[in-house]
């Protein structure tokens, strides 16, 4: 474990062409890390994430990714991810290969990765077309009952990036609240980078809390508000207004590019990014 700046951590550990996962299910999404990857111009990434959300919309729209493994690619509660759609529908800014799962399947694939099993089994993909478009979805017979169950191959990202509330000085990480598949994505990876709201002397961790111990953490990066516009339970709430506003920003290639240039490429770090935003997100008409 080492403590680094975000710029250093991304420069050192994230390389073109890697399979990387920025996990966080609505909560604790590592937005600052995604922005830094965009700033450093990474290309040909295979992005893995259950719910791509705005951060992958931004990375895809800025041309960082050539492959996406996912299970639900929308703007939660709002609608489409327009940059993801544009990549899939019109190959802009480039073609994007997709490996599509259900949540249950992708979660199981992370579990297999964390457990260093080559695959996972689930009762899933019954009566739908997903297996016909994703050849990774197969099946196997139970050696006891003969019952057919679905299989998915393990996912082992080269780098997983999480955002968490706290690290202590040894690098132990505390996550609190909705935790999605973060623990599995973390333990499935070879390299684990965690941005945190703050580094504290002693973690505020109850006995059965979700803690990632220091020796599975490659780098800890203090980034206050690093999940904005998503949220960090106990620190700040989700900026729902920003999620609503993103629908307009991202709908159009030009307004998207202008926004990214101004707020991400045009800022040095996450503090500057936050500073560049209008104090009130633009009002969205109640359509």
């Amino acid at each position: 474990m080492e403590i680094r700046t975000l710029r250093d951590a991304i420069a050192r550990y994230v390389e073109d062409g890697q399979t990387i996962a920025l996990e966080g299910f609505t909560h604790l999404i590592p937005f600052a890390a995604g922005h830094e990857i965009i700033r450093q111009g990474r290309r040909h990434l295979h992005l893995v994430r259950m719910t791509p959300d705005l951060v992958y919309d931004q990375m895809i729209g800025m041309g960082c990714a050539s492959t996406l493994t996912f299970s639900w690619g929308g703007n939660p509660g709002v609608g489409s991810l327009h940059r993801l759609r544009d990549a899939v529908e019109h190959r802009w800014p480039g073609p994007l290969a997709i490996h599509e799962h259900s949540h249950a399947g992708l979660a199981a694939a992370y579990c297999a990765g964390a457990a260093r099993l080559p695959f996972a089994i689930l009762k899933g993909y019954v009566g739908n077309d997903l297996a016909s478009v994703n050849p990774q979805i197969r099946s196997i017979n139970c050696p006891y009952t003969g019952e057919r169950v679905a299989t998915v191959p393990a996912i082992n990202p080269q780098v997983t990036i999480l955002h968490a509330q706290q690290a202590d000085r040894a690098g132990n990480i505390l996550l609190r609240g909705i935790i999605g598949a973060q623990k599995e994505a973390a333990l499935a990876a070879r390299t684990l980078i965690v941005t945190v709201e703050e580094i504290v002397d002693v973690l505020d961790a109850p006995m059965n809390a979700i803690v990632l111990p220091h020796w599975v953490v490659t780098a800890v990066v203090p980034v206050p508000a690093g999940a904005y516009p998503a949220y960090a339970q106990g620190y700040y709430e989700r900026d729902n207004a920003f999620y609503l506003a993103w629908d307009d920003i991202a709908r159009d290639r030009k307004s998207f590019t202008a926004w990214m240039e101004r707020h991400v490429l045009g800022t040095r770090d996450h503090a500057q990014f936050l500073g560049s935003l209008p104090a009130e997100a633009p009002e969205r008409s109640e359509a």
């Binding site: 690619g73 259900s102 019952e147 598949a181």
Partner: protein
């Protein structure tokens, strides 16, 4: 008090809410399902157990979440578990009574499409995708589908099947190994469709005040079967409407509250 005025959306939400029973364990998606499930909790089913796929079990939000994983869902939950766990031990584990689903397309057997319009490889419209729906559709003891009715949405053939309803009907679902019983009802803004015994084809069984049967048939992309006796669904009560509108008003206020950015900008 006279019968209150209400919108077709409100009728749909109220009709869906009434499907839930007190104590029912319900797996909820975002949007109308979430409004309906919470309305049920505020009206006739105070002990309904709401589970969102973010892993929040027994959650009791005061406003509707914008996302499936809003902080209030965690803060008001009995338990918050991981996503692998919610799908394996709880949904696949057979612990869910009812699932609430929506979709972009539905066919006559209640199969759903939330993946693409057009061809998968070259889609006309890429939709968000299936998410938790395929397994909710498979494993919840029964499901309720909620969506606005139109010939564009109620289609003769899905562009993609994301989640199984009754598959090809006539018992094909039961033979497939899916553990749950499938859609018990499809609640739309025009009426309620239920699977017919035997064929399992969706059939109009309940209508709303002021909506003609021919209107429902016209809003369906296949020749909609109509039950011999179509029941009339009671209009929303004053109390149901008041609680639903309060919920929406609280939600709007919460989601429009001044951005948190000002506070965050003060951070180092």
């Amino acid at each position: 008090m006279g019968v209150p005025a209400y919108t077709p959306d409100e009728m749909m939400t109220v009709a869906a809410a009434r499907m839930l029973w007190d104590g029912c364990v319900c797996f909820v998606g975002i949007g109308v399902p979430s409004a309906a499930a919470n309305l049920a909790r505020f009206t006739h089913a105070p002990n309904v157990v709401l589970i969102y796929e973010s892993g929040t079990i027994g959650t009791r939000p005061q406003v509707l979440p914008l996302s499936i994983g809003d902080g209030e869902l965690a803060a008001s939950a009995t338990a918050v578990v991981s996503l692998p766990e919610i799908f394996s031990y709880w949904l696949q584990g057979g612990r869910i009574d009812a699932g609430f689903l929506a979709a972009a397309q539905i066919d006559r057997f209640g199969n759903l499409n939330s993946t693409v319009i057009g061809d998968y490889a070259r889609p006309k419209t890429r939709l968000p995708g299936a998410g938790g729906a395929p397994e909710i559709a498979a494993h919840a003891r029964e499901t309720f589908v909620i969506l606005k009715q139109s010939a564009r949405t109620f289609v003769p053939k899905l562009d993609f099947r994301s989640s199984a309803g009754f598959m090809e009907g006539s018992g094909s679902r039961a033979r497939s190994g899916a553990t749950g019983a499938g859609p018990r009802a499809v609640i739309t803004d025009l009426g309620i469709l239920r699977p017919a015994a035997g064929t399992e084809e969706l059939t109009l069984t309940e209508r709303y005040e002021g909506v003609g049967i021919e209107e429902v048939v016209a809003a369906t992309g296949w020749p909609l079967k109509v039950a011999e006796r179509v029941q009339l669904v009671a209009a929303p009560t004053t109390e149901e409407l008041r609680l639903l509108r309060d919920l929406h008003a609280r939600t709007r206020a919460a989601h429009n509250r001044p951005a948190i950015l000002r506070a965050l900008k003060r951070l180092p």
